[in-house]
Amino acid sequence: SQTIHQWPATLVQPVGSPLSLECTVEGTSNPNLYWYRQAAGRGLQLLFYSVGIGQISSEVPQNLSASRPQDRQFILSSKKLLLSDSGFYLCAWRPAGTGGYEQYFGPGTRLTVT
């Protein structure tokens, strides 16, 4: 069966510090991968998606970047965090080449920028 992991679970970082959040998927190959953010009182905002190694598409211009160094690894980064980067970050995967659109989410990372 497939599983998705995210770490860390929680993170408190000062403004201006760097960020690295990691997501890995097990039990599948060549998945589509996604990074979302849920800000307080808001819905899920798609930040980045990837259909393959090294292929990253950005949905929203921001202070963040993403990379996919391996097939089942997706990393969200920032060089200098802003207060507005606080939120709940979610990674999701979807089997490539399937007819359905179901995405499966990881447990999330709660980021607080102070």
């Binding site: 995210q6 589509n32 996604y34 808001r42 819905g43 899920l44 905002q45 798609l46 998606y49 259909v51 598409s57 949905e59 709940f88 979610l90 999701a92 979807r94 359905g100 659109y101 179901e102 995405q103 499966y104 989410f105 990881g106 447990p107 999330g108 709660r110």
Partner: protein, 114 residues
Amino acid sequence: DQQVKQNSPSLSVQEGRISILNCDYTNSMFDYFLWYKKYPAEGPTFLISISSIKDKNEDGRFTVFLNKSAKHLSLHIVPSQPGDSAVYFCAASGLGRSQGNLIFGKGTKLSVKP
């Protein structure tokens, strides 16, 4: 501009009664719709989906209805249970087939009272 709208931020229902969660969309190109359930500090879990070629899909206590002419879908939970208390997100897709991108509503918080 919100393409997927959940106009009720919250809903309170008595245990054993029906819960009806509503969702409206604006883009007629959407052809697949999904509902997710989310507990606090956890990732969303996929609940049920429906293709635009159908008007109803049922899975146990959960039924999703789609009215394409009204660009409206609803999730019915019967009977409602206290464990159903969570935030429910409506999502739509079909615009980016290869990427499988989803557009989420802002969610409705369901409270089921014993």
